[in-house]
C-alpha cells in the first residue's frame, strides 16, 4: 500500500466518471445500449418461464442465454468488467491501487431468486436439506458487492446498499462521497438485480404491473414492468483520472438520499422526500434549479409514483417550470436496484453526446402529473442532468451530473 492517507476524510475532491459498464435489456455493451435507446426501442417482452397464471408477464430480461445460480452476481461482475475496460483499468493497475479501490453496489433482491425454486420443490416433495451453504451466501445482500470486489481484487471499502429501487442511484452517490472524503481514489459503483418470481407476484397482487407498456406520466398508465440488469460507473478523483491520462465522461456534482417517512408501500402524495433529495443534491452541487437542463425521472408509470414525482418536480423547479423530463423505464423496464445505475449511465451518455432521450409509449399527458416530458429525442447541449430514483420503504435518492468540462 502506498503512503496515501488511510482514514483522513477531506471534502474538497472533485469526482469524475471515467468508465461505464452495463448489462441491460437494451444491450450489454455501451454502444448497443445507446443505439437502442436512441432508436426508442422498447426492450420489454413476454417471458414465458415467469408466468404466474394471471396474464402474460412482460419483463425486461438480459438475453445472455443463462439463468443459473447467482445470476444477479453474474450480471454485476459482467458489468464491472465492462466498466473497468471502459475506464482503461487493467488488473495490474487495479492491483497496485487495491486498498484505494472501493466497491459500492445496490440491490433489491440480491441472489434471493434462487430460494423461489427450492421452496417450490420442497413444498411439492418435503425432504430434509432444503438449503445449502450456497443458498445462504447468495441470499445475503452483500454477496453482490463481494462478487464485484473479488473480481476486481478491490481492497477498499465494500458496501452493498439495500435501499430498494433507489439503491443503484444511492450507490453512485455514496461512491462519490468516498472519493470526495478521501477514503478511496477509484470506486466501482452501481446496482444489480435479477427477476424474482416472488417479487413479480407481489407487484401483481398490488396491481402495480402493466399488461403491456410502461407509460410514464401518461394518461392510461397502468403500472410498471419489472426487468433485470446491472450497471456500474467508475468514479475517480480528478487527480487520479489525470494521473492516468483519462478524460472524464462526466462529473458527479451532487447527491442526496433520504426517507419519505410516509408509507412503506406508497410515496408521499406531494413527494416530500423527493423534494428534499432533489433540493439538497442541487445545493450540494452548488447549483440552482435553473441550471438543470434535463431530469431523468424515476418515472415508473404507476399512478402513485408519477403523480408524486411530478408534484415534487413542480415544487423544486418552480423557477424553471419548463425543465425537460425523460423517463428511461419506458424502454428499459424497471431494473429494480440496478435501475438508478442503468439510468445514470444513460444520463452520462446523454450529457456526453448532446442528446436528450425521448420517452416512448406516451398517449397523452396526465393533467395531474404535468411535467415537460420529452417524447422524442432532442439533440441539444446538456450541461446538468438530475437523475432520480425512489423505492419501496420510502427511500429516495437524487444525483446531479454535469458535463466533463463543467
Amino acid at each position: 500500500m502506498g503512503e496515501q492517507q488511510l482514514c483522513t476524510r477531506r471534502t474538497d475532491r472533485a469526482v469524475v466518471v471515467t468508465g461505464l459498464g452495463v448489462q441491460s435489456p437494451a444491450g450489454c455493451e455501451i454502444e448497443t445500449f445507446w443505439t437502442n435507446l436512441t432508436r426508442q426501442r422498447v426492450a420489454t417482452k413476454v417471458v414465458p418461464e415467469l408466468q404466474l397464471g394471471e396474464y402474460p408477464i412482460v419483463a425486461g430480461v438480459v438475453d445472455d442465454g443463462f439463468r443459473t445460480l447467482g445470476r444477479c452476481q453474474q450480471l454485476a461482475v459482467a458489468a464491472a468488467r465492462s466498466a473497468a475496460n471502459h475506464a482503461g483499468l487493467d488488473a495490474a493497475t487495479l492491483g497496485e491501487q487495491a486498498p484505494r479501490v472501493a466497491v459500492v453496489m445496490g440491490t433489491v433482491v440480491g441472489g434471493r431468486q434462487v430460494l423461489d425454486a427450492h421452496i417450490g420443490n420442497y413444498l411439492r416433495e418435503p425432504v430434509r436439506g432444503l438449503w445449502d451453504a450456497t443458498d445462504w451466501t447468495l441470499s445475503r445482500a452483500e454477496s453482490v458487492g463481494v462478487a464485484v470486489a473479488r473480481e476486481l481484487q478491490a481492497m477498499g471499502p465494500n458496501y452493498t446498499l439495500t435501499m430498494a429501487c433507489a439503491a443503484g442511484n444511492a450507490a453512485i452517490g455514496l461512491g462519490a462521497r468516498l472519493i470526495a472524503s478521501g477514503e478511496a481514489d477509484i470506486v466501482f459503483a452501481g446496482g444489480a438485480d435479477e427477476l424474482s418470481p416472488a417479487f413479480l407476484a407481489m407487484f401483481m397482487q398490488h396491481g402495480a404491473l402493466s399488461p403491456d407498456y410502461i407509460r410514464p406520466f401518461s394518461i392510461g398508465r397502468r403500472g410498471v414492468l419489472l426487468s433485470e440488469g446491472a450497471a456500474l460507473v467508475v468514479l475517480e478523483s480528478e487527480r487520479s483520472a489525470a494521473r492516468r491520462g483519462r478524460s472524464p465522461l462526466a462529473r458527479v456534482a451532487g447527491y442526496h438520499s433520504c426517507a419519505d417517512a410516509y408509507d412503506v408501500m406508497a410515496p408521499h402524495p406531494e413527494g416530500r422526500g423527493a423534494v428534499v433529495s432533489m433540493t439538497r443534491a442541487l445545493t450540494r452541487a452548488g447549483l440552482g434549479p435553473q441550471a438543470v437542463d434535463l431530469i431523468s425521472a424515476h418515472g415508473t408509470g404507476t399512478p402513485a409514483n408519477d403523480k408524486s414525482e411530478a408534484a415534487a418536480i413542480q415544487q423544486v423547479f418552480s423557477a424553471n417550470p419548463n425543465v425537460l423530463v425523460t423517463a428511461p423505464k419506458a424502454m428499459l423496464g424497471h431494473c429494480q436496484g440496478a435501475a438508478g445505475a442503468v439510468e445514470t449511465v444513460a444520463s452520462i451518455l446523454s450529457l456526453n453526446r448532446g442528446l436528450a432521450l425521448g420517452t416512448p409509449n406516451n398517449i397523452g399527458m396526465d393533467p395531474e402529473a404535468r411535467v415537460s416530458l420529452l417524447t422524442e429525442n432532442r439533440a441539444m447541449p446538456l450541461g446538468v442532468v438530475l437523475s432520480n430514483a425512489f423505492g419501496f420503504g420510502g427511500n429516495v435518492s437524487s444525483l446531479v451530473l454535469t458535463g466533463a468540462n463543467a
Partner: protein, 363 residues
Amino acid sequence: MTPTAVNGMGYCGPHGVGWDAFLRFASSAPTSESPLAMVEWAAPFPPAGQARELAAPADLRGTLEGRGLRAFNREGKLLAAACQGALTQAGNSSAWPRDEVGLFAGSSSAGLDDYCTLCAEKEQWGVKRLTPSRGPNAGFNAHLGHVSKWFDLRGVTLGVAAGGCSGAAALAAASRELQLGTVQHAVAGAVEARAHLRIQSCSSSSCVVEGAMAFSLSRDSESPRAYITSCGEVFVPDANRETFIRAATWLRRGFERAMGSMPSQIVVTGLAARAARRNWDALLESIGPIPHVLDVDERWGDWLGVGSCLGVALAIAHVSGELRCPGYDACDAVGVVSLDEQGAIIFHLVESPARSGKGSACG
C-alpha cells in the same frame, strides 16, 4: 476526522430491551452456558438444523406505543425498539429537526424469512391470496421504511449490508455523513432477525442470536457518553497471505494515525468463526501482539451484522466506566475490529470525552 459524539445507545436482544438489558447481556456468562430458552420453528419449513438459537422478546407492544406496529416485519420491530432506546438516552432528540436526522441501518439477512414465506404462499395459495404486507416486508430495506416512518426520520437514509460488519459499516457511513454535514444527527445500528435459512446454514455447535443495537450520534454534543474518533474499512478479496498482510498493514496504520500506536485493548467481532473459515488468524498475527482481545462472537454467539455494533457498544460502556470488559484494564480508548468471513474489516476507535478532547485521529 471530526469525532462523532455518541449520545445514546439502545438494545433489543435475548436479555430484553434497553440499556439495562444490554448491561445484563454484557455481564452474562458465555452463550454456550446460557440458560435462555431455545426457539421452536413452525411449518411450512422443516426443523431448523441443530444450531442453538436465542431470540429477542417476541412481543414488543409494551416497548413501542402507537398505531401501525402490526404492519412491521420482525426486523422493523427489533430495530425500532433499539432506536427508541438510543433516542431516549440522547435526551432532547424529539427537538431535532427531522430533516436533519439520518437513519443508517446494517443488516445482512433482513426480510429473509418473509421472502421465504412469500415464496411458500405463492406456491400454496396463488398470487391473489398473498398476505398483502408480505411482499414489502420481504425486501432488504423494509425495516428502514418502518423505522423512518415510526420516528419521522427524514434525513440521509442508508441501508447497508456488509455481512458480519454490517452494523460497523452503518456506523462508519453515519460518521461520514455527520462529518460532511449532510445531517446533524443520526441513528445508526444493525438488526438481524431469526431466519430459517440462517439457522440451517450453521453448524450444530453454533449459537445464532437475533436482536438489534442502535446508537444516537451527533456532530456535536454537550455531554456525550463517548466519541467515535476514527474508523476505516478494508476488504480482503482472497485468502493469500500477502493480501492479509496488506490488510493488516492498513489496519495497523489506521490505528497508529488515530492514536500513535495500536490500542492496547481491542474488541474483535466475528473472530472465532471467521478465523476457522478464512485464516483470519494470519491477519491478527500480521497486526502484531495485542494485549487484550475480546471476541464477541466466541463469547456471545453469532449475531451476524449486529455483532460489530455490540463490539462498539462494549467499547463505549468500557471507556465510560459503566462496564469493565472481561480481562480489561480501565482505560479511555478501545479499538474495535469487526471481521466478516466474506472479507470485510472495519475498525472504530472509541474514546472517552476526556481523551478525545485533545483532538485525534486523522484530522
